[in-house]
């Protein structure tokens, strides 16, 4: 349930990102319908979300045999990962037949009789003994049980993907024109490419204003500062506790805090958010700008 954004917490966001990567989770739960998937595939777990994950684990020997039979008979059309193959066989992991099958009673007739459905290449008959069909079914279920939440496929081996596709020279030029007013590659950004070995994290960090040691705005990890000027009495300055239409809370240096009722423009409130500058840049980037700057920053070892 992340659809209703509150204030974005940069540090928390980065921490979460690290945790994701550490856990090897490729698919974030997005949108409004998430929030209930198991963190780990719940194979054989009665409290898992759906039947494919709830069923008890099958006999490993039978699954192994089914795997071999699948490779020999099914893989060409349905793919090594069951997600469909070059010969046009459908994805079995989202197949209503496979998902409803318990132990081959629905998969079996399709294997033995073949299938002819509109829009899909005709599946031939396979002459296989019943125990082979059962083994294939067990194998299919064992793979389906490892599907991720929100319909994501089994993790498999993550593809090795290169995020650094930009033109470093163009990135350098972009940096000189747009970034060097606040940042310096020999100052706050010195060695940034060495400090951030994951280019995707580096890219996310600089886009969020988190990469450098501060820049002119003083660094994104620095707090939002606020100055409140009441109609009478002295200015009050400190870290922003909270602000809405009705109240502003100032956390003072001595550990105390003060709150002020707001009524339109009274009292005068000035905010200094170190992340503002980067936030305002977001609508101005092209994807090429972003990839070029990242390609440049990774060279700053």
């Amino acid at each position: 349930m992340r659809l209703l954004r509150r204030r974005f917490h940069w540090i928390a966001g980065l921490l979460i990102l690290f945790v994701w990567l550490a856990a090897g989770i490729a698919a974030q739960r997005g949108g409004n319908r998430g929030g209930a998937a198991p963190a780990t595939p719940g194979v054989g777990n009665p409290t898992a979300t759906f039947p494919a994950q709830q069923r008890p684990p099958g006999d490993p020997a039978m699954i192994a045999r089914g795997n071999g039979l699948y490779e020999a008979n099914c893989r060409l059309c349905h793919g090594a990962d069951l997600r469909g193959g070059d010969q046009g066989g459908p994805n079995l992991l989202r197949s209503a037949v496979v998902l409803a099958d318990q132990s081959g009673e629905l998969i079996g007739p399709v294997v033995l009789n073949g299938r002819s459905n509109p829009g899909i290449p005709t599946m031939p008959k396979f002459t296989l003994p019943a125990e082979d069909v059962r083994a294939i079914a067990e194998y299919l279920h064992s793979v389906a049980a490892t599907m991720q939440g929100q319909g994501g496929p089994p993790r498999g081996t993550p593809a090795v993907l290169n995020v650094v596709v930009g033109d470093a020279a163009a990135g350098q030029a972009y940096f000189a024109k747009n970034c060097s007013g606040c940042h310096s590659v020999t100052g706050d950004l010195a060695g940034i490419g060495a400090r951030n070995t994951n280019p995707m994290l580096l890219q996310n960090a600089w886009l969020g204003g988190q990469a450098g040691g501060g820049g002119r705005a003083g660094g994104a990890t620095n707090p939002v500062m606020v100055t409140v000027t009441p109609p009478s009495g002295p200015k009050v300055e400190g870290r922003l506790g909270r602000i809405d239409d009705f109240l502003v809370i100032v956390n003072l240096e001595d550990g105390s805090s003060r709150s002020f009722r707001r009524n339109g423009d009274v009292p005068k409130v000035e905010l200094r958010d170190p992340r503002d500058a980067h936030r305002k840049l977001l609508p101005t980037y092209t994807d090429k700008d972003i990839h070029d700057v990242t390609a440049y920053l990774v060279t700053l070892k």
Binding site: R5, R7, N32, A48, N91, D244, D245, F246
Partner: protein, 550 residues
């Protein structure tokens, strides 16, 4: 002539009398066509989707007297049971999600001085006068995605609600005792059901959700028996079905998604139920489903008696960002170019606003209301917005606004016929979206991508003129808004501000007139009249706050 008159008398007098003998009292579905006032008898209050109440004890001058009447907290059931008044149903063990906290994310119906409140697997009847619990029905689930429940439907003395494990359950509205339950979708195919059933005449309109590439559909059930009347698929299921040419093949279409998980609106004059459909699947990896992918992310008008589609308009073509167009559309009557028009408007999750002729589906207005939305190229001559393929998930990352949750989402918008303005909560966030599964077949479900949130350029309560699509005003929230909206004839728009305040705004300019800090709203505010006093309520998690005018 005499015969005709006799038949007419039979139809008008005798038939309702027979019907009345069968099911007495409760909510007569005919009252649902009336403007929203004393009660709140269906998801949006009435069929128009406006969430505009004719109540005006609380107005721009008096709303300052709106005062807390009561606070009511609900507690979910568990397999071990709880309390004396809990009624237990269900076909599972209830182990999944046992002991979980409650978040009320649906409409609370108010009928006959009672409130009907839901969360996944739970329905409560509360006394509208003081919020005390009268009964609690708990459904022991088989599992599934327990993300939300959007509320009950009511027909005479019968209640209806959907369960996460895909049952439609009917209860006696007075006692909470179960009448029947029917399975409405295949649990094996990982459907999960959250929608509030919508009662239209003798139809019970029911939608479901799904993330694993199963086809979306809207169904109509007989409210008396639970028998299926018709089933309308939102994607082509057979050769020759309309829209199939917008998919690479039938197999892709049949796994194309387009779920129906938020209630629509209903026009009694045309008998058209108009609703939005969800994203195509696989969600973020569109490479395996080139084409417009009809009828996902569309507004669809279906005749309630036949289940046949009268018209459609796609509000997000070939979506690759999980931007469902499931938002509740609003029926609006307005004059455009000197001509009175019957309109339907929707503010889509992708940041674009559309107004159509609701009789024909003819396009009238396309405008951008999500001020930073950056995914579109040009607008086609028919008003459909062309997506920029460069803004799909890419391996080196694509900078996309809005975020995956959208500029808006299920929290309902509102419309005031007094101001002529359409109100919606607007969120302008940016994501980097990385493609992690570049397989040409596409991924599955919502897999195959990684998303990093970069920040927001502002959240607003936004007022749009539906005749022009122009923004009338924006009121900025330092928090994110949330829950949804209520407009009233008192010249007010009620909203949560995302900073923990429940706020009454001036509907003409957005100025806050009243607020109370109860926490962030988890559903849309609602209003009703009881004992001559106007009440306004909203939920924060498991707690309902009910305010009253003295």
């Amino acid at each position: 002539m005499m015969l005709r008159r006799f038949v007419l008398i039979c139809v008008l007098v005798i038939a309702p009398a027979l019907l009345g003998a069968q099911v007495q009292g409760g909510l007569d579905p005919a009252t649902l066509v009336k403007p929203l006032g004393n009660t709140w008898p269906t998801y949006s209050g009435d069929y128009t989707g406006r969430r505009f109440s004719s109540l005006k004890q609380a107005d721009r001058n008096t709303v300052k007297n709106l005062t807390l009447a009561w606070v009511g907290k609900v507690t979910a059931g568990s397999p071990t049971g709880r309390g004396a008044n809990i009624i237990v149903g269900g076909v599972g063990t209830g182990e999944f999600g046992a002991g979980g906290g409650v978040t009320i994310k649906g409409s609370i119906l108010m009928v006959d001085d009672h409130l009907y409140v839901t969360s996944p697997d739970n329905v409560w009847m509360l006394d509208a006068r003081d919020g005390h619990e009268i009964w609690h029905y708990y459904w022991k689930t088989r599992g599934s995605t327990h993300i939300a429940n959007r509320g009950v439907g009511i027909w005479h003395n019968y209640l209806y609600f959907e369960t996460p494990d895909d049952y439609l359950v009917s209860l006696d509205a007075r006692t909470g005792i179960e009448r029947w339950h029917v399975e409405i979708a295949d649990f094996n195919q990982q459907y999960f059901s959250t929608m509030a059933p919508i009662v239209v005449d003798n139809h019970l309109l029911v939608g479901t959700g799904n993330d694993i590439d199963s086809p979306g559909f809207l169904q109509s059930f007989d409210p008396e028996t639970g028998n299926l009347q018709w089933k309308f698929y939102t994607v082509p299921m057979n050769l020759g079905d309309p829209g199939l040419d917008t998919w690479p093949n039938l197999e892709a279409a049949r796994h194309g998604g387009g779920q129906v998980w938020v209630p629509g609106s209903y026009d009694p004059e045309t008998k058209l139920y108009i609703f939005g459909t969800g994203n195509p699947t696989p969600g973020y990896t569109g490479q395996g489903r080139p084409g417009d992918n009809l009828f996902t992310c569309s507004l669809i008008a279906v005749n309630v008696d036949t289940g046949k589609m009268a018209w459609y308009f796609q509000t997000s073509v070939h979506d690759t960002h999980d931007w469902d167009s499931a938002q509740t559309p609003i029926l609006i009557d307005a004059t455009i170019d000197g001509r009175p028009r019957k309109l339907v408007s929707t503010a889509a999750r992708n940041g674009y606003f559309f107004t159509l002729d609701r009789i024909t589906g003819a396009h009238i207005i396309t405008s951008k209301y999500g001020s930073t939305s950056n995914w579109a190229r040009e607008t086609r001559p028919n008003g459909v917005v062309e997506p920029d393929p460069g803004k799909e998930a890419t391996v080196p990352g694509s900078l996309v606004s809005p975020i995956e949750g959208g500029v808006t989402n299920w929290p309902p918008p509102a419309y005031s016929p007094d101001t002529g303005l359409f109100y919606v909560q607007e969120h302008n966030g940016f994501n980097m979206v990385y493609l992690t599964d570049p397989d040409p077949r596409g991924s599955m479900g919502l897999g195959g991508k990684q998303v990093s949130q970069l920040g927001s350029l502002g959240n607003y309560l936004t007022a749009i003129d539906p005749k022009t699509g122009q923004i009338a005003w924006r009121h900025e929230y330092s928090g994110g808004g949330g829950g949804g909206l209520l407009a009233t004839a008192g010249g007010l728009v009620f909203s949560g501000d995302g900073s923990g305040n429940f706020v009454a705004h001036d509907s003409s300019n957005g100025k806050p007139l009243w607020h109370t800090r109860i926490g962030n709203l988890s559903n849309a505010p609602q209003t009703y009249m009881l004992d001559g006093q106007q009440h306004v309520l909203a939920a924060v998690g498991d707690t309902i706050y009910d305010f009253v005018m003295y």
